[in-house]
Assembly symmetry: C2
Homo-oligomer: 226 residues x 2
DNA sequence: ACCTGAACACCGTTCAAGT
DNA sequence: ACCTGAACACCGTTCAAGT
C-alpha cells in the first residue's frame, strides 16, 4: 500500500501501534468497559475524535487489538519439525491459551469478529502442516485445524468469563479452590451425577481439563488418519 | 423463596418473563446493540428506571435471556435411552447449535457469564448420563461433558460472528457460497496449504464441519472408554 | 493532514418524589 | 411496592473550523 509523500499540516503525533498499545493497557488494567475511544484519547492527551484520524471506527481498533495479541504467539513451536505433530499442537495450544488468559478482557473480542488477520492465517497454515503428518488428507486436515481453533478459543472464552479482567491472573490452584466452594451447593437430589463429580467440575477451568479434551480430539484425528 | 403477601401500591404491570421476551425480541430484530435497558422500557411503555424494579441490573437481564434460550432445548433427546450414546450427543449438540444460531445476537452472551442456571445443569447432567454409557469413569465423563460444551459453544460463537444478527439466518448453502468468494483472495505463495483447501474452509461454518469435529471428539471418548 | 470544540443521539444507573 | 422525572457520568460518531 505505497502512498505518495503527503507533507501538509503537522506530523502525526502517534502511530496506530501506539493507539493499540494504549487500548491494550486500558483493557488489562480496567477491563473491557474501559476500552473506549474517549478513554484512549484522554490517555494520549487527544480530543476523542482525533482517534478517527487513525482508525475508521471502534471496531477497527478492537480488531487491531486482537491481531496484536495473536502476534504475541511463539511462532516457532509449530515449525519445530523435530517434535511429533501431536506434541507440537498441544504445545502451541497451551501457548495460545496462556497468552489469551493473560488478557482476560480480550476473550470475547476473539469470538466477536472473523479471525482472518495475517497472524491468524499463519497459525492455520502451521496447523495444517502438523495435521498432514497425522495422516489426514488435505480436507480432513482443514476440518481438524478449525476444530482445534474452536476448542482453544471456546475453552479460553468460557474460562475467562469467570475472571476479573482488571486483575492479574490468580494461580490456577486458587481459582480451582474457589470454584470447589461454589460447586458444593449443587443439590444432589436433583443432579446426582453432577454432584458426584463437583471436584472435577471445579477443575474445568484448569490446564488439566484443557489438555484432556484436546488430547481426546487429537486421538480422534489420529484414529481417522490411520 | 416464599414471600409474604405484599399488597401495597399498584399491581406489577409486567412479569420478569415479559421483560425477557421483549429483550429477546429486540436482540433478534435489531441486534445486540439494541438490547438496552432504555429500549426495553420504551417498548413496554415504561420509564427506563422502572426496569430496575424487576432486575437489579442489565447483567441480570442478559443472564435471564441466556437461560430462556437454553430452556428452548429439546430435553427429551438426551434421555431417549433407546438411542446409542453417540447418537444422542450428536443430536442434542445439533439441536443446541440450531437454536443458538436462531438468535445470532446471543452467541456472545453465552461466553460472557458462567452458564450455571438450572437448565444448564440439567444439560450437563444428561451429558454425564450418556457419557457413562461410553465406558468413561465418572471423572472422565465430567471432563468429556465440558469438552462437548466448549466445542458446541465455541463453534456457534465463531459461526455467529460472521452473521448479521438483525436478519433471519440465511440458508447454509448461501452462507458457504459467500465465504467461498472471500477465501479466493488468500495468497497461495504465502499460505500454500491454506490456499489448497479454501473450499473446505468456506464450509467451516456448516453443519458438516460441526459434525466432523464433534465426531472426532467422540471417537476420542470412545477410545478412552474402551 | 491532523487536530479541536461543540454537538447529536444515545447509554446504565441513582435519587427524590408521587400513589 | 411500583413507577416517574430529572439528573449524573458516561458512550461512539459527525461536522465545521483552525493550522
Amino acid at each position: 500500500m505505497a502512498e505518495g509523500p503527503r507533507r501538509r499540516g503537522p506530523e502525526r503525533a502517534f502511530t496506530d501501534e501506539q493507539i493499540v498499545g494504549v487500548a491494550l493497557d486500558l483493557l488489562d488494567e480496567h477491563g473491557p468497559d474501559a476500552l473506549s475511544v474517549r478513554r484512549i484519547a484522554a490517555k494520549m492527551g487527544l480530543a476523542p475524535n482525533a482517534i478517527y484520524t487513525y482508525f475508521p471506527d471502534k471496531q477497527a481498533i478492537l480488531r487491531a487489538v486482537v491481531d496484536r495479541i495473536v502476534g504475541e504467539r511463539d511462532t516457532q513451536i509449530l515449525n519445530d519439525t523435530d517434535a511429533p505433530w501431536r506434541e507440537r499442537i498441544v504445545r502451541v495450544s497451551l501457548d495460545i491459551r496462556t497468552r489469551l488468559l493473560a488478557h482476560p478482557g480480550s476473550a470475547l473480542l476473539f469470538m466477536s469478529a472473523p479471525i482472518d488477520g495475517p497472524n491468524s492465517l499463519a497459525l492455520g497454515e502451521g496447523l495444517l502442516g502438523a495435521l498432514a503428518e497425522a495422516g489426514l488428507d488435505a480436507a480432513d486436515a482443514a476440518r481438524a485445524s478449525y476444530a482445534v481453533i474452536v476448542y482453544v478459543l471456546g475453552s479460553v472464552a468460557l474460562e475467562a468469563s469467570e475472571l476479573d479482567p482488571t486483575v492479574p491472573l490468580p494461580a490456577e490452584a486458587d481459582r480451582i479452590a474457589e470454584r470447589r466452594g461454589a460447586f458444593a451447593a449443587v443439590p444432589a437430589e436433583w443432579f446426582p451425577r453432577t454432584a458426584a463429580v463437583t471436584d472435577v467440575m471445579a477443575a474445568y477451568i484448569g490446564t488439566e481439563q484443557f489438555t484432556w479434551g484436546l488430547e481426546r480430539l487429537l486421538d480422534g484425528f489420529a484414529a481417522r488418519g490411520r
